[in-house]
């Protein structure tokens, strides 16, 4: 245990040196790297140089990344994960203020919550809802199995939602395509929320606290709209 003392001091020293770009903390789950503002490539460079300076000391460590406001694409995170793995470190989690970065991390199979920040994340949700109800997110691609889209406002998808994909929205959900996955509209309890799709055939459809499954298909798919009528889910033809 005593051996830990000096490297920690050492870390603190370097931390001050680079405090404008990165900060490294020890947490229960390993190391937490906090990225400050700046160009992604510069920040990453500083991080990797810092790790290289530490030599063998950090080898085998589990890294959680707090990406702050950085918007990271799959390629960026994938590279970083590889570069860390070359140095014997494993990236296991990424937390971020940017929903895009969180989504990327999820797609790469990384955790997006760590024990300590879970509480902070929960605290952020209420104001997300407050500003979110009348806001919408639009996604122009097919949502495939394993993809989960969670948003406090409305969700519009131009594309299909395949079985195994999930949409959880505080508001309405509109799918310009096949809706075959799981959909939950009015997830915060809004009973006037609706779901509509060119072909409404979800594995499960939820509005507020009501749950419904789709009956067996009869005839050709038609645009439909589902809503709550007297507390039960009903689908009607969706026409202008």
């Amino acid at each position: 245990m005593q051996m830990d003392a000096s490297p920690v001091e050492n870390q603190l020293g370097v931390e001050q040196e680079h405090s404008s770009k990165i900060q490294i903390k020890g947490i229960n789950e390993g190391l937490l790297v906090i990225l400050k503002e700046g160009e992604w490539l510069d920040v990453k460079q500083v991080l990797l140089e810092h790790i290289d300076q530490q030599g063998e000391f950090l080898r085998g460590a589990r890294i959680a990344l707090d990406a702050g406001n950085h918007i990271l694409k799959a390629l960026d995170l994938g590279r970083l994960r590889d570069e860390l793995s070359e140095r014997g470190l494993s990236l296991w989690a990424v937390v971020s203020n940017s929903p895009m970065t969180v989504q990327t991390a999820k797609m790469l199979g990384l955790e997006t919550k760590i024990g300590k920040t879970r509480r902070e994340a929960a605290l952020q949700t209420p104001d997300g809802v407050m500003l979110g109800v009348e806001e919408a997110v639009m996604v122009c691609k097919t949502l495939r199995s394993g993809f989960r889209l969670q948003y406090p406002g409305h969700v519009v998808v131009i594309g299909d939602v395949n079985p195994g994909a999930e949409i959880i929205a505080g508001g309405n959900v509109v799918v310009w395509g096949h809706m075959r996955g799981l959909v939950h509209a009015g997830a915060e309890g809004n009973e006037s929320a609706v779901v509509c799709a060119l072909d409404l055939h979800p594995t499960q459809l939820r509005i507020a606290s009501q749950i419904a499954v789709t009956p067996k298909r009869k005839g050709k798919p038609q645009p439909e709209l589902a809503r709550l009528v007297d507390g039960t889910v009903e689908a009607v033809l969706w026409s202008p």
Binding site: A74, G109, K141, R144, G146
Partner: protein
């Protein structure tokens, strides 16, 4: 032109990744290209068995990555096709013995000298899968006309898109025309409708594949096999030729309309 890295993956196990890798490798080598097949299924290797090269393994992928031998020492030349090589997986280690960047370095090393590098991915979406797709220029997804296999293929296609390796190519394996006719099996149209990526192969169910796998003789080497013909067609499509899809049903008809059907993935 530097060599092309093609990763063959599926999500679900047992749909025919290893058979497809062995047969595409053999078909490309037969057409005169220099081909290396890499078995990325560390701990559960069997590409060596399917190619009939099991008894010649001295070094493996993990030996190369950990520097115990040079790449050339781990490459086993095929008995029948002098331009086909195999880098076998280690059997006594697990997926974590290799990292995605190790695979990228290895493939970059091979690109200069070989035309095609085929990687046989393990099932699943974890480390082994990520190792297998990291160096890929093209990812080929194999599925069977079964709901569970298609669901996993959909998930894998999403992950491939997320890693910016898309759009993937699709091969549907083990098609049974009689069952489709009775309405008991998904048709290639049903599968394509859901997955919406480019189709490059339809392979009929063929008992010959089981015997050829057991004997270690790729089915493409058998001129009379229907599955062999289907694999040869895939290799020609990979080479850029326009090859009409096999009429899987004897009398013809059902798959005719697929011939000109080319779908592109959503963006």
């Amino acid at each position: 032109m530097p060599g092309k890295v093609i990763t063959i993956t599926s999500g679900k196990g047992g749909v025919g990744k290893t058979t497809a890798t062995a047969n595409l490798g053999a078909a490309l080598a037969q057409s005169g290209y220099k081909v290396v097949c890499i078995d990325a299924d560390i701990g559960l290797r069997n590409l060596d068995v399917v190619l009939g090269l099991e008894n010649r393994i001295v070094y493996d992928l993990v030996d190369v990555v950990e520097g115990r031998c040079r790449v050339r020492q781990a490459m086993i030349r095929d008995k029948r096709l002098p331009e086909l090589y195999l880098i076998p997986a280690a059997q006594t280690r697990d997926k974590s013995a290799v990292s995605p960047s190790d695979m990228v370095r290895l493939c970059d090393d091979l690109r200069g000298e070989y035309d095609y590098i085929l990687i046989d991915s393990p099932a699943g979406i974890e480390r082994g899968f990520r190792n297998a797709i990291a160096p890929a220029d093209v990812v080929m997804v194999i599925t069977n006309p079964e709901v569970s296999a298609v669901r996993d293929a959909d998930r894998i296609i999403g992950l491939i898109e997320a890693e910016e390796k898309g759009p993937a190519l699709l091969v549907i394996n083990r098609i049974k025309p009689n069952m489709i006719k009775r309405g008991d099996m998904l048709s290639p149209d049903d599968v394509l409708e859901l997955l919406a990526i480019e189709l490059v192969g339809l392979i009929p169910e063929d008992e010959g594949v089981v015997t050829s796998t057991n004997r270690g003789l790729p089915v493409v080497l058998d001129g009379r096999s229907k599955a062999g013909q289907a694999f040869r067609n895939i290799s020609r499509r990979l080479l850029g030729e326009k090859v009409p899809f096999l009429d899987i049903e004897e009398e013809g008809g059902l798959f005719g309309r697929l011939t000109r059907r080319i779908r592109s993935g959503g963006d």
